[in-house]
């Protein structure tokens, strides 16, 4: 028989205003096994905790029940209290009489009655509790950052500066991400390359950072502190260690007709290429879809001219196995496809461009060398219409329901820079709302309107139609003057909604990290744990978690790094002892549990059993890897023979609670 102490918390007036706390402690003191019951204003305070410690020692308590707030709030606190008084921390049960009782009821009599019932259920459970001991697992002191954009770069640098090894896996041939494609950055208008490329060089030169470029994560096994990751290093047909990045091959390659993805297909590159001048690593890559040597076996020019002898047509994909203690997801975003928005004539006129394309057109390293020229005829545009919210805040199913957050600011930037460089250009911005919360953001937008004379019009563009004279007819509404406008524009720029990169969804499955319906990674707590995934050991950095601009991405990247450093600084991790275990005498080897386990914690082994008549039988039974098990309990529900049970939440304990409630 357990000796149980019951401690009822007032939580100031949070509980005491709706629940008669003395009646609860009085009623629970008569329950079987209860040797001590009391109530106190704040059980979680030092005085409250001392009451618990003293009672454990004085009455020799073997189990305690705390009637208080949710276990999410203070279970850890009270477990520590019990441990400090020499009681096994898993002999503590919490009856949630705040969130599940006092906060949701108004009537004191019913709330008190319910609080007593909840207390009785917890007492019934404690009777069946057994002391549990948490196991320790070592932490691999190396972090993996998936994605080499500004988010991944910043996270990697911060972790590496703290002295831990970091690997960056980037799927394209260079790190840098979307920021490397930008021209200027709002609201200070520094050149994106000028602030990004030094960071890329820092990454390349950091002795603690290793870059796996042109690589993807293939498989993830393991758990926090001990992830085993398989990385596929795609064949680039160039020996990275030998290539000097001289670029001679990229000038001589005869296959000139490959759309250049760095310039969003607005110009061409060769089949062997270096994405841009400041690429890191500055190593050439052969595009196997276009290389004539790889496709037909004829050519081989690059191999002949490469003085370093770096070309290797026989290169194969390489699989690399590596262990990590923590994984940071920084997979970033892409603009959405505009197939559902035919009214803007994006597919019909080359002069209708997305904002990212406009960014390339105005970039000195872009297809027009920074000259603002129309893609169709290479002439200076004199009237430019910017359309905001293209596909953002769209619940019709064509676009995305969320606000993409960055478009208001970059459109103000584009409009301002256009007026700055080409004052003879008329610039219109059609907006639904202008959203500029951020340091110096609203001032920036107002400057575009007031000092640069950008025409901001409240209303939406209904359609864009190419005209015979090469202009674009823009039909839009001006809601404030209540008229319909018809503008002959030379160019239309669409502030296209952004969406998480397509690689995020399969990656989330590999990591068992949760996502929302828009494929953004979910954080463990939207306010208090914004850079951690609910899955232990997985951290989030940048736009994979939600739309954000560069300053915010960099802050979040640093925050994620701090969390990783906190994890890697530990030598061992205490595992949750509330894990599944299988009674092998009852297990019938059906594999049901193995199939439902989301963590791959269950395996089957053939084991010898002595039978009653002195024979030996070999049976197939389930074995749980306690280090991998997260204690979700799916297996205990799936097991048809009742062999699988969860420590700390056994079937008998739950049934005892239910019985106590129904009595």
């Amino acid at each position: 028989m357990q000796k149980i102490g019951v401690f009822v918390c007032w939580c100031g007036s949070n509980i005491a205003a709706t629940v008669d706390v003395s009646a609860v402690s009085e009623a629970l003191s008569h329950e079987p096994g209860v040797v001590y019951a009391t109530n106190y204003q704040y059980m979680c305070s030092e005085a409250g905790q001392n009451t618990i410690k003293d009672a454990i020692k004085k009455y020799g308590l073997t189990g305690i029940v705390i009637c208080s707030c949710s276990p999410r709030m203070h279970e850890a606190t009270f477990r520590k209290t019990a441990a400090a008084a020499g009681l096994n921390p898993y002999m503590v049960e919490i009856a949630n009489i705040r969130e599940q009782c006092s906060w949701i009821h108004k009537d004191m009599a019913t709330a008190t009655e319910k609080a007593i019932i909840l207390g009785k259920a917890a007492i019934a459970k404690v009777h069946l509790n057994a002391p549990l001991t948490a196991s320790q697992s070592p932490v691999v002191k190396r972090a993996l950052v998936i994605g080499g954009g500004i988010a991944g770069i910043q996270t990697a640098l911060d972790i590496a500066d703290a002295g831990f090894e970091v690997d960056i896996v980037e799927k394209s041939p260079t790190i840098g991400g979307k920021m490397s494609q930008l021209d200027k950055t709002f609201p200070t208008l520094d050149c994106a390359a000028c602030i990004l490329t030094p960071k890329m060089v820092d990454v390349a030169q950091h002795e603690k950072i290793k870059i796996y470029s042109y690589s993807e994560v293939e498989a993830v096994k393991g758990f926090v502190g001990n992830f085993e990751v398989t990385i596929r290093k795609k064949a680039r047909y160039v020996n990275e260690n030998v290539c000097t990045g001289c670029g001679l091959c990229t000038e001589k390659c005869p296959q000139k007709n490959v759309p250049n993805e760095f310039n969003l297909g607005m110009d061409k590159r060769r089949a062997i290429y270096i994405p841009f001048a400041q690429a890191v690593p500055k190593v050439a890559t052969i595009d196997a879809n276009y290389c004539m040597k790889l496709k037909t076996g004829k050519c081989g020019l690059c191999e002949k001219i490469c003085t370093a002898g770096a070309i290797d047509y026989s290169q194969k994909d390489q699989l690399i196995e590596q262990k990590y203690g923590a994984i940071v997801v920084a997979t970033g975003f892409n603009p959405i496809k505009l197939d559902n928005f035919e009214e803007y004539s994006y597919s019909q006129s080359p002069d209708v461009v997305t904002s990212l394309e406009f960014e390339r057109i105005t970039n000195a390293a872009g297809p027009t060398s920074g000259q603002l020229l129309r893609p169709s005829d290479g002439k200076h545009p004199h009237t430019i219409v910017f359309v905001q919210c293209v596909g953002s805040r769209d619940t019709s199913g064509c676009g995305k329901p969320y606000c993409s957050k960055i478009c208001c600011m970059y459109t103000a930037k584009h409009a301002m820079l256009t007026r700055e460089k080409y004052p003879d250009t008329d610039v219109y911005v059609f907006y639904i709302d202008v959203r500029t919360p951020g340091k110096n953001f609203d001032e920036f937008y107002r400057r575009a309107a007031e000092e640069y004379g950008v025409h901001y019009i409240k209303g939406m563009v209904g359609k864009v139609a190419p005209k015979a004279d090469g202009k674009l007819m823009v039909q839009a509404s001006d809601l404030i003057s209540n008229e319909q406008l018809h503008i002959d524009a030379d160019m239309v720029v669409l502030a296209t909604a952004i969406e998480p990169d397509k690689s995020a969804r399969p990656l989330a499955t590999m990591l068992t990290a949760s996502m929302d319906t828009n494929d953004f990674f979910t954080e463990a707590h939207p306010k208090l744990r914004p850079v951690e995934s609910p899955t232990a050991g997985i951290f989030l950095s940048g736009t994979c978690q939600g739309p954000k601009d560069i300053p915010e991405t960099v802050s979040q990247a640093g925050a994620a790094a701090a969390k990783v450093i906190g994890l890697l600084a530990k030598d061992t991790l205490t595992a949750n002892p509330c894990v599944a275990h299988s009674d092998e005498m009852m297990c019938n080897g059906c594999s049901s549990c193995e199939k439902v386990c989301p963590y791959g914690a269950i395996t089957y082994v053939d084991k010898e059993f002595r039978m009653p008549d002195r024979t030996v039988a070999i049976r197939r039974v389930a074995v749980v890897n306690e280090a991998v098990c997260q204690g979700c309990g799916a297996c205990t529900v799936a097991c048809p023979s009742g062999a699988m049970d969860l420590k700390g939440f056994s079937n008998s304990q739950i049934m005892a609670e239910v019985d106590a409630i129904c009595k």
Partner: protein, 129 residues
């Protein structure tokens, strides 16, 4: 519920439109090919129904200028369907025509030789209540 509110409820029910979904972007009016012919424009229909100001819309010539091309429905980012509101207002006008009443002393001048007796009885039954 006063008459104004009843009328609004009727428009909402008949059209099946939730006007509260509108985020006032004006894309409906930006896309409307009959915009210049209208006194009230598609986005105003949505907003005025939201405010319960149905009466001016009933008298508006816009309801006859709407082509029912459904471009506004197609392009609305929030799925509001303004054309269905215009349609509902048009229906409301047509239904109101049924409120014309027949009085017995008007009958003689409406009679003509070819009119069957039943038609007079039926019309009287329908329009005298």
């Amino acid at each position: 519920m006063d008459n104004k509110e009843k009328q609004k409820e009727r428009i909402l029910r008949v059209s099946g439109v939730n006007v509260l979904k509108c985020m006032k972007c004006g894309k409906c009016s930006g896309t409307c090919p009959s915009y210049d012919e209208m006194d009230y424009h598609p986005h105003q229909f949505v907003y005025m129904v939201e405010k319960g100001e149905i009466e001016p819309l009933l008298k508006s010539k816009s309801i006859y200028k709407c082509l029912s091309c459904f471009a506004c429905v197609e392009r609305c980012p929030r799925g509001v369907e303004p054309a269905k509101i215009v349609e509902a207002i048009r229906l409301e006008v047509i239904r109101k025509q049924g409120e014309n009443h027949l009085k017995p002393n008007q009958i003689p001048q409406l009679l003509d030789e070819d009119l069957p007796q039943q038609a007079i009885v039926s019309a009287f039954r329908k329009y005298s209540k």
